[in-house]
Amino acid sequence: MKHRYPLLWLALHRRRRMLVALLIGMAVFETLIVVITVTVSPQEIFAGGGRQPPGAFKAFSGSTGDVSIASYPGLLGGGLVHPFWIALQLTVIGSLAAAAVAADVESGTIELLMVRPISRNRLLAERTAALALASVALNAVATAVVAIGVVLSPRLHQAVSLSGVFVAGLLGLAFTLCLAGPALAVSAATSRRAYVIGATISFGAVGFAVNFVALAWSKAAGLRFVSPFHYYTPGDALAHGTIPWGSLAVLTAVGALGTAAAFRLLARRDLAP
């Protein structure tokens, strides 16, 4: 069979087992979150003793507004900013961003690819498309599981609208694209896949830590604007069901700028191990 997009096919084909495992992992994890959310009343967790959770805990519910983790949207949002969810997303981003350029340069296979009549832009475009497709699939699985849970549980459906679930999924995709852009730029500039994976993990982990510190410590509140988790707010989306256009625009713009930088960097570099 002739492949119309051979570079895209190659990136996904080589990682197909890992991607399937991640998709199954995401489905199982979000199922657990939904089941736990349905079976445990939020009031039993924090409000039973008359206490409210600390404000910084909003970081764990995916909110920058008024959504407490001691609520159904907060608990479901927690499943969409949980370290396990982040780890799955970063694995996809790091792996496929590294595969865009750096992994082929490091292994030397770039020599076979780039002596063909294909442009560097096409190489990066197909590899970016592979990353985007994998991210869409991962977020679609998470969104579908939460949506099914909301549909099947009247208690959840009362607190969370389906449109809120889909907005949260959309934000999740924008979040992954936000991290993917800079990761692709690192891949386009370096010859080591470890640098790309390290940078991707740093973007995610440091971003989460900065947002948490900004929520917990008022003097550092301004730092929240440099974290993607300030704009990625699935808890708010689940609670209100409205698209936060500003946040969506910031996440998308960062991703687009990073991707544009990747194209520029790739056009100028040498392509050899």
């Binding site: 051979p6 296979t109 063909r116 050899a272």
Partner: protein, 307 residues
């Protein structure tokens, strides 16, 4: 540049930060030529080749391949190019068939010679169904040759092409080279396997430490360089002073000594040597290997070139 030059390199310099890959390199390869590119590891052969196929951007100098800039005109040049990297890296989880199909898809051209090449190089259908990760080095090299030639390119650039090939397959490889040149194709063959270059190439460029040492025909290179002089002494006294001939690095084995003497010095050296008790004497033309080593031992300031 000559109008018929398929490869035209002028004052090519490629630096990696402070490290010099190649410096002020000049090469011209005519259509239909099998051109050898010789040098030890780190001499700059692979750097030059990567500049020719558009993987590296020259720091300075001129590179034209088939009249095109390999980087700026890459998409116009690549359809006419067949390339075998020196360190062939393949995707280990793809089968041989998938690898060839992938590279053909990227080439975007028909592959009229694939089946014939696989058959002649001994890659069976069963081999092609196996994952490349299970291939021996020789099989990978065969696959590399097939992918470089399957679309019948006008210019074939081969970096260490016979590495890992068994003697029978090497014969097939040389036959393919002969057929390619007979069909008007141009071949650039980089190697440190001297007999390979001696057999396949009409002209050869030798590079050392990133600089061109000489460009000559293989025959002229052999002719211009050392003569191997072997002497056997009759008196059983073993190694001894050879007078002026001691300048030619005598290699002693008992009463026998071997020297590599430049052609113009042979007669003078023999006059002095024959005053010694010589029992037997042979003078023969050094092979390319000796010529090659001689060039590496003797720094050359200006590259020589014959027409």
């Amino acid at each position: 540049m000559s109008d018929s030059a398929v490869i035209d390199v002028g004052a090519l310099t490629k630096r990696y930060g402070p490290t010099v890959g190649v410096e002020e390199l000049d090469i011209s390869v005519a259509a239909g030529e099998v051109f050898g590119f010789l040098g030890p590891n780190g001499a700059g052969k692979t750097t030059t080749i990567r500049c020719l196929v558009g993987l590296l951007r020259p720091t300075s100098g001129r590179v034209r391949v088939l009249g095109l800039d390999p980087v700026a005109d890459h998409r116009r040049l690549a359809p006419s190019l067949g390339y075998l990297p020196g360190e062939l890296r393949l995707y280990p989880e793809l089968t041989g068939e998938q690898t060839l199909r992938l590279l053909a898809d990227l080439q975007g051209a028909p592959t009229p010679r694939r089946a014939e090449l696989c058959e002649r190089l001994g890659l069976s259908a069963a081999d092609l169904r196996r994952a490349v990760g299970e291939y021996s080095r020789g099989m990978k090299q065969k696959l590399g040759l097939v992918q470089a030639l399957q679309h019948d390119p006008a210019l074939v650039v081969l970096d260490e092409p016979s590495e890992g090939l068994d003697p029978l397959v090497q014969e097939t490889f040389f036959a393919l080279l002969t057929e390619a040149t007979a069909a008007g194709r141009t071949v650039l063959l980089s190697s440190h396997v001297l007999p390979e270059v001696q057999r396949a190439c009409g002209r050869v460029a030798i590079v050392r430490a990133g600089r061109l040492v000489t460009v000559q025909s293989v025959a002229a290179l052999r002719e211009a360089r050392a003569r191997r002089v072997r002497l056997t002494f009759a008196d059983g006294a073993g190694p001894r002073p050879l007078g002026a001939a001691d300048a030619w690095s005598p290699h002693w084995r008992g009463d026998r000594v071997e020297l590599l003497i430049p052609p113009r010095e042979v007669v003078g050296a023999l006059r002095g040597l024959l005053s010694l008790p010589v029992e037997d004497l042979t003078v023969e033309e050094a092979g390319l290997e000796e010529a090659f080593l001689d060039l590496y031992r003797t720094p050359t300031e200006q590259p020589e070139e014959d027409s």
